[in-house]
C-alpha cells in the first residue's frame, strides 16, 4: 500500500454515544472520528440522522469488528454486502478490521479471537481479504489484537505473521500500540524487538488507550487513560512511520470530553502533528 498517498487525518476519537452532544461543541479539537461499522449496518432513522450529522462535521473512518477475516469457513457475504454499502455511503479514505476470527460453525464468539500463526492460516486470511477487496475498493488496514490465550501449533511469531499478511495482501496496518504493550506484558516479550520486525512503512493508523489489571493480567478494557509505556511506544512508532492518523479508543469508564481532548492534544505533541486537518478535507457523503 502506498501510505503516502493517503490523506493525513490527524488525531481523533473513536465515536461513542456518551459524548455525542459535547462532541459537536468541540469539532475543531477532534481531527477525525472512527465509527464502529456494526452500529450503522441496520440504520434506524435515528442512526441515519446521527451518521449524517457526524459526516457533516468530521471525516469518518469505519472500524469493523465482526467480519471475521480469519474464518476458515469463509466470510458472511450478506454481512460483507452491508458493510460495503456503508463504506460506499461514507466514502472514507480507508477502513479497518481486525486480524482475528469471531465466528465458526454457527457460533458467534462475541469477541476478537486469536488465530494460529501458521501458513495455512495466512492463506485463509489472504483469500478472505481478496474477497473483501472485490466488494470494497476503499483501502483496508488491518489491526493487531490482544490475545489472552496462545493457539498452539505456531509456525512463526505474531510479528512475522502480520508482516507477511500485510506485505502479501496489499493492506495497510492499523497498529494498536496498547494491544502491543498489553501482549508484551502478558506474554513476556520485548515490544521494541517485536516492533522492529514489522513493516513500519505500512503503518497507516494507530489506536491508543489504557487497560486495567485483573489478577495477574493486563486487560484490554479501553477503560483507562493512556499509560506512559504506550506514550513512549507512540513516540517510537511516530519516528519510523508515515502515520496518517491516530485514534483514542476509549470504551468504558468514559471521562468528560475535555479529558479525552487533553489526550488527543498530547498525542499530537508526541506524534508531531501541528494542526487539525479534517475540516478542510471532508469527503462527500452520498
Amino acid at each position: 500500500m502506498d501510505v503516502s498517498a493517503l490523506p493525513k487525518l490527524g488525531v481523533g476519537l473513536g465515536f461513542r454515544d456518551q459524548f455525542r452532544g459535547e462532541l459537536f461543541l468541540n469539532v475543531a479539537k477532534v481531527d477525525f472520528l472512527e465509527i464502529i461499522s456494526d452500529h450503522y449496518l441496520d440504520l434506524t432513522p435515528f442512526k441515519m440522522r446521527e451518521l449524517m450529522e457526524l459526516a457533516a462535521s468530521f471525516t469518518l473512518v469505519p472500524h469493523g469488528i465482526n467480519l471475521s477475516l480469519g474464518s476458515a469457513e469463509g466470510l458472511d457475504l450478506k454481512y460483507l454486502e452491508r458493510l460495503a454499502a456503508l463504506i460506499d455511503k461514507i466514502n472514507p479514505p480507508w477502513w479497518s478490521e481486525h486480524i482475528c476470527f469471531t465466528q465458526a460453525g454457527g457460533v458467534d464468539i462475541g469477541h476478537l479471537s486469536p488465530l494460529p500463526f501458521t501458513y495455512e492460516m495466512l492463506e485463509v486470511l489472504l483469500e478472505n481479504i481478496a474477497t473483501v477487496q472485490r466488494y470494497i475498493k476503499t483501502p483496508l488496514i488491518l489491526e493487531n489484537i490482544t490475545y489472552m490465550l496462545t493457539i498452539p501449533g505456531a509456525e512463526m511469531n505474531e510479528a512475522e505473521f502480520i508482516s507477511q499478511l500485510v506485505r502479501r495482501s496489499g493492506c495497510g496496518l492499523l497498529l494498536d500500540i496498547t494491544n502491543l504493550y498489553i501482549n508484551s506484558v502478558n506474554h513476556g516479550y520485548d515490544m521494541m524487538s517485536w516492533l522492529a520486525q514489522l513493516p513500519l512503512d505500512q503503518v497507516v493508523q494507530l489506536h491508543f488507550v489504557g487497560g486495567h489489571w485483573h489478577s495477574d493480567m493486563l486487560i484490554d478494557s479501553h477503560a483507562q487513560a493512556t499509560p506512559p509505556e504506550v506514550w513512549e511506544l507512540m513516540a517510537e512508532v511516530a519516528q519510523h512511520t508515515q502515520l496518517r492518523g491516530a485514534i483514542l479508543e476509549r470504551d468504558e469508564n468514559i471521562p468528560a470530553l475535555p479529558v479525552l481532548l487533553a489526550e488527543l492534544a498530547q498525542a499530537r505533541q508526541v506524534i508531531g502533528y501541528t494542526a487539525t486537518t479534517s475540516s478542510t478535507s471532508l469527503p462527500e457523503v452520498s
Partner: protein, 197 residues
Amino acid sequence: MGLKEVQETLATLYTNSSLRAEFAANPQAVGAKLGLSSKDIAQLAPLAAKQLENFANSLKAKRLNEVSKQLTLSEQALGKQFAELFLVFADTYLPHGIKKHYHDAQAFAQYLQQVPTLTPWLKDLVCYEALNLQTNENKPFLRVKFFNCLIQPILRDLHNKQLSNNYRGMSIGVWLKWPGQEQPRHWLLSFTQKKKR
C-alpha cells in the same frame, strides 16, 4: 479435517462451560467426540486450561457489560443478583449477529421472567425495560402491556436510589412507533387500588 474444524472446536470451547471442563480433563476424548483428526487433537491438546478459562470468562464479562448497558434499570433494581443470574443464563444462550447485545438483553429479560425467586414487581420492571428497548428497533411498533405493579413509583424510587418493596397496584404501558419515526411515543399510567371499606 483442518483449520475449519479446529476453529469450530475453539469457538465451542470458548462458549461452552461444560465442554471446556471436559476438555481440560481429557482433551483427546473431547477432540474425538467433536470429530477432530488425531493431528488436530494433537494441535489443540496443549491449549493452556487457565488461558482458555480466562478467555471464556472475559467473553462472559463482555456480554454482561453490554447487557448491563441495555438493562440499566433492571441492573440497578436487581443489584448483584443481576450479574449472578446473567452468568447462569450465559451458559444457556449464545447471541449472534450485528445486534447480538440487543438479542442477549432481550433473551436475558425473558430468562429473568422465569426465575422463581424474583419478586413479581422486579419481573414487571424487567419486562417494561425490555419493551422500551424493543421500540429502538428499526420497525413499526404498537404494544399495550398491563403490569401488576406501580411502574412509575418504581422508576421514581430507582432514580432516588430508595427502592421499597411495596408497589402494589396496576400500570398500563403503551408504545407506538410509526414507520420511519425516529422516537417512539410512550404512555405509562399507574393506578393504586383503593381499599374497600
